[in-house]
């Protein structure tokens, strides 16, 4: 209920802001809604929104898979960690824009370069988060698994994965929030379609109605993914904590 009131207050503030600033600087909610309906009806928005979501999903999955694998390896191997850590620090501190431009310059303005740029921007965060998870694995439980001759799969499924679940969840939630912002920049700079491309177009035309018509549903989709996919998955992974632990 409070959330609904909060949302109504947001729309009201927006309306008041639009009245105060004028439609050139802040289009009113009804104007943005009209543009949204027009874009959706023409089929333009579903196509661009779909392409952007595909890029988010692909870049996010690539970064999570590769980042998790390397993070776990670094957390379990101190020598490898010492070797790779300086590179990781560099990667973490390289601006996203630099990575995107380099990917396009070296790989060309194509879909592969776009996905590499998206994944590379998230990759170091996933590595660092999962490295912490691997470092925190309880060696006592590992020894228990060894004594009772757990197979590799059984150890992974029953000993490691439950301990790593909060780190996967943290990496995934932080990752989604980062990746979708990166995707928009990647599309703005080098793709002929997608929400980022449309926003770039809106900027060139100074069409704030178009900009907001694309921005709001996209943000809403990301919030829905966070609320109905990532958070429930995190709750499921940590469900055992409710049993007195």
């Amino acid at each position: 209920m409070i959330r609904l009131v909060s949302l109504c207050l947001f729309v009201l503030a927006w309306q008041l802001g639009a009245l105060a600033l004028g439609p050139q600087h802040l289009p009113a909610p009804d104007q943005v809604t009209a543009t949204f309906i027009a874009e959706w009806s023409s089929g333009d928005m579903p196509m661009n929104l779909g392409l952007t979501l595909m890029r988010v999903l692909a870049g996010f999955s690539l970064a999570m898979a590769a980042g998790s694998a390397l993070g776990l390896a670094l957390g379990r191997n101190a020598a490898l960690d010492r070797l790779v850590d300086p590179w990781l620090v560099i990667a973490l501190n390289t601006p996203a824009l630099v990575v995107i431009i380099l990917a396009y310059v070296w790989g060309g303005l194509n879909e592969t370069s776009a996905l590499v740029a998206i994944a590379l921007n998230k990759f170091p965060n996933a590595v660092v988060t999962l490295r912490e998870g691997a470092r925190a694995l309880d060696p006592a439980l590992d020894e228990m698994a060894q004594v009772f001759a757990f197979s590799s799969w059984k150890r992974w499924r029953n000993v490691w994965l439950p301990q790593l679940a909060p780190y996967f969840a943290a990496a995934a939630r932080g990752g989604l929030a980062l990746v979708w912002k990166i995707v928009l920049v990647v599309e703005l700079l080098g793709r002929p379609n997608g929400v980022g491309f449309k926003m770039g177009m809106a900027f060139q035309l100074f069409d704030l109605r178009l900009l907001l018509a694309y921005a709001l549903p996209f943000v809403a989709l990301m919030v829905l993914a966070e609320t109905f996919v990532l958070r429930p998955a995190e709750r499921a992974a940590n469900g055992w904590r409710g049993h007195g632990a």
């Binding site: 006592a140 020894e143 228990m144 060894q146 004594v147 009772f148 439950p162 055992w240 904590r241 632990a245």
Partner: protein, 248 residues
Amino acid sequence: MGGAAMALEIQALSKSFARKNGSAREVFRDFSLTLGEGKVTALLGPSGGGKSTLLRLIAGLEQPTAGALSAPARRIGMAFQEPRLLPWRSVADNLRLAAPGLSEAALQAALAAFELDGRGADYPGQLSLGLARRVALARAFAVEPDLLLLDEPFASLDLGLHRRLRALLAQRIAARAMTVVIATHDLDDALLLADEVIFLGGVPAQVEQRLQLDMPRENRDENLTKLRTLAPFYPSSPSKGDANSGAA
């Protein structure tokens, strides 16, 4: 031990741990010991005296710096100093994971043997330390081990729980033929449970005394005071009392 098949032979074993300052902490040097098949051996000694390290070497959790342990391929059950249960799995699942193929009847029997009836669905976080230790022991027995390793199985328990759990353990040991090695610093535990008590001492650790106990286990409870006189050199805790020590 003459004539018995050797369950476990430790030959000229050395084990050192590196300290942070680069020096080595030597726990064993040229340490040799043979343990008889189907016997219950108690390793007795002060804390930090090498008992747990020896158990870990036997379990394969540590590798010797030199020397060898010869043990035929066997099924090992172990109860650690801490219960080491998987907190995200129920009690029943903790047992099933350690003993794959455990039938429902065998699972219930394993739980009942340690008075854990009706606790199968509980999670470790819902258990007291005493119950968690019982689960850890039930898990060690559930694998039907040939070699059972118990590392201070009653540590941190109050006297009542200590006695109750010791009594349960004594029953289970009597019910199944297997080689058992118990690391403890408690003389009474050793006297009430073991066929042989090995006193470890010194740095690096050496066998200082070996004590064979021929008295039937069920008679030891009432003769505990007399048994203690067999090891006058080792301090026992008077607070543990003579009566109702709970091994039988």
